[in-house]
């Protein structure tokens, strides 16, 4: 436990001791929110001749909210989790290259601690960004759903936490035995776009073609997005929320256990 905390602290220190890095971590979600969030003004499609009543109804039926920015902004929480954790694996390659990993491997610290510290670090950093996204979204006019309670934001954090642990474990696994970046980098690139588009980040999965809907309905991002929206912009549906959280919880448990197992087995080459 002590070794685990020390390794996590090492990563965190590198982050918060570097003002520029910290600033970028703050700026990045803000920029996304302002530019991407406000760019796709789908509500405007129904401008002009369409009566506002009908437009609102169409929006509500498709997106579950009358305001596309709110739909998008909440989707961005899961997206930011994906984007901030996708490089988790590279730090282990870096450690291997610099010889730090070998030194740590020669100490009695548990192999699980080595990967879990990286997972926790990525998760903490990502959760910090989620907080900023939430703040920015509220400031830019997020329309909360009926029955919204500020405590629900803790629920959002829980979802982000689960998703980040799952993603960082996944991306860490890809790099466990790598000595070079190229292959894991290509794999990450291959995975990120489909993960993002075959989900309900930008668009409801219900309106996608059948086969794509099937893909989206296995995608953890879809569950995370739905859960986040249940907590913020939808009228909370307990059944759906329970389904989302169960899926995410089980998946996260499975992936992180697998990464610990693989670390024990394969960190030493």
């Amino acid at each position: 436990m002590q070794g685990f905390l020390a390794l996590t602290r090492r990563e965190l220190k590198k982050w918060y001791k570097e003002p520029l890095l910290l600033l970028i971590t703050v700026l990045q979600p803000l920029i996304w929110m302002v530019f991407l969030g406000k760019a796709m003004n789908i509500g405007a499609v129904f401008g002009g001749g369409v009566p506002p009543e009908l437009a609102n109804q169409l929006m509500l039926r498709s997106f579950g909210t009358t305001d596309y920015f709110s739909f998008m902004a909440t989707g961005m929480i899961a997206m930011s989790c994906l984007f901030t954790t996708m490089f988790t694996g590279f730090s282990i390659i870096w450690d291997r290259r610099l010889g730090f990993l070998n030194k740590v491997l020669s100490t009695p610290v548990s192999r699980a601690s080595i990967v879990l510290s990286k997972i926790l670090y990525a998760t903490l950093r990502s959760s910090f960004q989620v907080l900023i996204i939430l703040g920015a979204a509220l400031a830019l006019g997020l329309k909360t759903g009926p029955g919204f309670h500020p405590l629900y934001l803790l629920g959002v954090l829980l979802v982000a936490f689960l998703l980040c642990v799952a993603f960082s474990s996944l991306f860490l696994m890809l790099a466990l035995r790598s000595t070079r970046w190229e292959t894991p980098m290509a794999m990450v690139n291959l995975m990120v776009m489909p993960l993002m588009f075959a989900s309900n980040v930008f668009f409801p999965a219900e309106l996608m073609p059948g086969w794509l809907k099937a893909v989206a309905s296995a995608n953890p991002l879809s569950y995370a997005n739905d859960a986040v929206r249940q907590f913020t912009i939808y009228r909370l549906d307990a059944g759906a929320l329970l389904r989302d959280l169960t899926y995410l919880g089980l998946l996260t448990l499975a992936i992180s256990s697998l990464s610990v197992y693989l670390a024990k087995r394969y960190l030493s080459r």
């Binding site: 020390a6 291997r96 290259r97 610099l98 010889g99 020669s106 100490t107 009695p108 030493s268």
Partner: protein
């Protein structure tokens, strides 16, 4: 006879068909400084990595402090300290934070860790710089910091991989001094690898010369030098029957005449030379010049590993690490 603290039997590591370490058998006794000497890519680091449980041997076995490196890695890790070839200290952290990180990796209680960290930092003379970021350290300071990290758990055996790679002469000498004093102070056994002959000669009680993954020679530095056939006396003299006189002297192994010189191989040059001189003078031979050459480890090394240049057969990964180390050593 002191106890054997490291024992390797037929230790082998194969990487993608390449036998990096090939049936290596050796043992190190308690409180000994034992050196693995060999060119780059000879298998030195791979051997250290197996002994320190970072790599799993392909076959063969090894024990460190009585624990098997494959079956009881936890126990091995608790009893050893490792100073890798690379500078592994985190550049963004201070020297003190780095040593404390190591203390935590060994699970030392906070107070104890803090006490030892400060003690070790002052031992390696980094006390005044302990709160500076490692980024600002020189090569020698980094190496000393690595030493402090490797000692935090009071190891019985300390592994040093190329402890002076890339350092200048003064710094190297001071690192040697530190290593010697460490053994005296903590009574540790030290296993080191080096490709600097001088380092092996100066520092080690016993040396194994390793090449292409195999041990080609083993012994104390003086034994290895003796194995070349002892010292060389070169004489320039005027007179008759010199060769016969020389051959008759006890301790003379070989006499050759090259140009106007006699080259005489003897066991102990400093005791044989006066004897030779007196005998020759008694027989009316005038000795105009006499010189004594002691064999160097270089000659042993070159004789055993061959004189051809090596294109290093090392992994790209190791190549990069070594370049990074060299660059930082010079910063």
């Amino acid at each position: 006879m002191r106890e054997e603290i490291i024992r390797a039997v037929e230790l082998t590591k194969v990487f993608n068909g390449l036998r990096a370490v090939d049936r290596v058998t050796f043992s190190v006794r308690e409180r000994e400084i034992f050196g693995f000497l060999g060119p780059n890519g000879a298998g030195k680091t791979t051997t250290i990595n197996m002994l320190t449980t970072v790599l799993k041997p392909t076959s063969g076995r090894a024990e460190v402090c009585g624990y098997d490196v494959v079956r009881e890695p936890e126990k091995v890790r608790r009893s050893i300290g490792v100073v890798p070839q690379e500078y592994t200290a985190d550049e963004d952290l201070t020297g003190y934070e780095n040593v404390m990180l190591c203390a935590d990796l060994y699970g030392l209680p906070k107070e104890e860790g803090r006490r030892r960290a400060l003690e070790l930092l002052s031992l390696v003379q980094l006390e005044p710089f302990k709160d500076k970021r490692v980024e600002t350290y020189s090569g020698g300071m980094r190496r000393r910091l690595e030493l402090a990290c490797g000692l935090i758990n009071r190891p019985k055996v300390l592994f040093l991989d190329e402890p002076t790679l890339g350092l200048d002469v003064q710094t190297r000498a001071s690192i040697w001094e530190h290593i010697r004093s460490l053994r005296g102070r903590f009574g540790m056994t030290i296993f080191l690898t080096t490709h600097y002959l001088e380092e092996a000669d100066q520092l080690c009680d016993r040396i194994a010369i390793i090449d292409h993954g195999r041990i080609v020679e083993e012994g104390s530095p003086s034994e290895l030098k003796d194995s070349l056939g002892g010292d060389l006396l070169t004489l320039e003299c005027e007179g008759d029957g010199v060769e016969e006189i020389l051959r008759a002297v006890e301790g003379v192994k070989e006499v050759r005449r090259e140009g106007g010189e006699y080259r005489v191989k003897v066991g102990r040059g400093e005791t044989v030379a006066p004897l030779l001189l007196r005998l020759l003078t008694d027989r009316g031979v005038t000795v105009k010049r006499l010189s004594l050459t002691k064999p160097t480890l270089d000659e042993v090394y070159l004789e055993r590993t061959g004189r051809s240049l090596r294109d290093q057969e090392e992994s790209p990964e190791q190549g990069i690490r070594q370049r990074v180390t060299l660059r930082r050593a010079r910063s």
